[in-house]
Symmetry: C2
Subunit: 251 residues, 2 copies
């Protein structure tokens, strides 16, 4: 197997931990990274706490090729991600002059020359020293802030998804091929067959996912690997034994 | 503030990390724990790997009052949670005789005396030594398996949700009261007011959540604390300054 880049996702948000908001950003990131051949190794959701953010960022940045954070970069008191990232790398927080000028320019064009920009908004341009901006100012109004291998993204889902997709081309590993088999048989009945197949085919990851809320199938089996021929051959070899089909009739 | 119990959620599943399935279980758990006054401190999603599960379970069990795991307890080769939990506590895996008898009994009543139960299903009754079962056999067909302070739950969402809700009464801390204020003003315009209010009212947690996909409001502000009068008073004090309202007109 080739060297595959790895990633971690750090969701920063009391609103997720207190059940106010259901995180969708990690799911979008997982789908994009899978498509790009990057192995997402963990997702962590932690509170809005500078020390906790710094600890998690420092640890994950050492352990994985890339880290993606979500949330905590707005103008309010509960936005602590830049401070946490700065502390993780032992850097100072400094006002990014170009970003501040862009933000002020946008603000003035919307609300007029007399409107008060305010110190709170300046917080959004106060970044860890040496941060890079990935941005096309003709298209974007928020930059993707990059500190070492850490990519700092907003928690607002539509912004997160857009920015991850825009940046996706920068992240790539060997493509992973996936096939799915569905069956009406139960996991208990197919477990031995799958276990044997996994032992015989270590280069294809076999997953088994039961459902009880549909008549369309009882188990979805997934096959994932770098060699498309190996994945396809294993799919064909398993279809009969699983009593399987490649598309569920419904649901 | 009273002593508040804490919790961690450990989602075990390659299917989440590869973007095949969007986890909903952590969100259900977050809502239930919030309602019960338990502080969910972190959610971690990790691969189907025994070593990784053991490391996470051991670490989280030490750090928090309760741990809840999701996934990896089926009969197939990719189900490794019981093995990981056993290793986390240095315990052996042993067949739980009563659980096995219950499972076999249910299987025979559905598929007949001649059907082959099979060794794969026995894996589902092979638990860390000393595990407790929380179950009402008149109602449930899967027990909630408890090892020390770790609660092992299935990944299938409808089972996870049902079992968490059935067990919710066992987990309780001081009730947390929550109020929400919505406003059409932007985060940048209300940030100073919120920051000042947070400093003045350390016992009420103030959260600020912008949205850009609705006309109903621009920011949701949440107030959470143990003293209902303090939360209510702060809500009333902030409503005017925020140009706020308590229910959005739509969306």
């Amino acid at each position: 197997m080739n060297e595959r880049p790895t990633a971690a996702c750090l969701i920063i948000g009391d609103e997720i931990l207190t059940g106010k908001i259901h995180d969708v950003n990690s799911h979008v990131l997982a789908q994009v990274l899978f498509d790009r051949g990057v192995r997402l190794m963990r997702i962590e959701t932690i509170p809005d706490d500078v020390e906790g953010i710094a600890e998690a960022v420092a640890r994950l940045a050492k352990q994985f090729t890339w880290v993606f954070t979500s949330g905590g970069i707005g103008p309010t008191h509960d936005d602590k991600t830049y401070e946490g990232v700065a502390r993780a790398f032992g850097r100072e927080l400094v006002v990014h002059r170009e970003l501040l000028a862009r933000m002020e320019g946008r603000f003035r064009s919307r609300f007029g020359a007399e409107a008060e920009f305010g110190s709170a908004r300046t917080r959004m341009a106060t970044l860890p020293e040496g941060a890079q901006l990935w941005v096309d100012w003709d298209r974007d109004w928020i930059p993707l802030v990059v500190v070492a291998n850490v990519h700092v993204l907003p928690g607002v889902p539509e912004l997160f998804a857009k920015m991850v997709r825009d940046a996706a081309h920068r992240f790539a590993g060997p493509k992973i091929h996936r096939r799915r088999i569905y069956t009406h048989r139960s996991e208990g009945d197919i477990a031995d067959l799958l276990s044997e197949a996994q032992t015989q085919n270590p280069a294809v990851a076999i997953g088994s996912y039961p459902r009880f809320d549909t008549e369309a199938y009882q188990v979805m089996v997934t096959l994932e690997g770098e060699d498309p021929d190996a994945v396809e051959a294993l799919k064909n070899a398993l279809l009969g034994g699983l009593g399987g089909f490649e598309r569920p009739e419904q649901g």
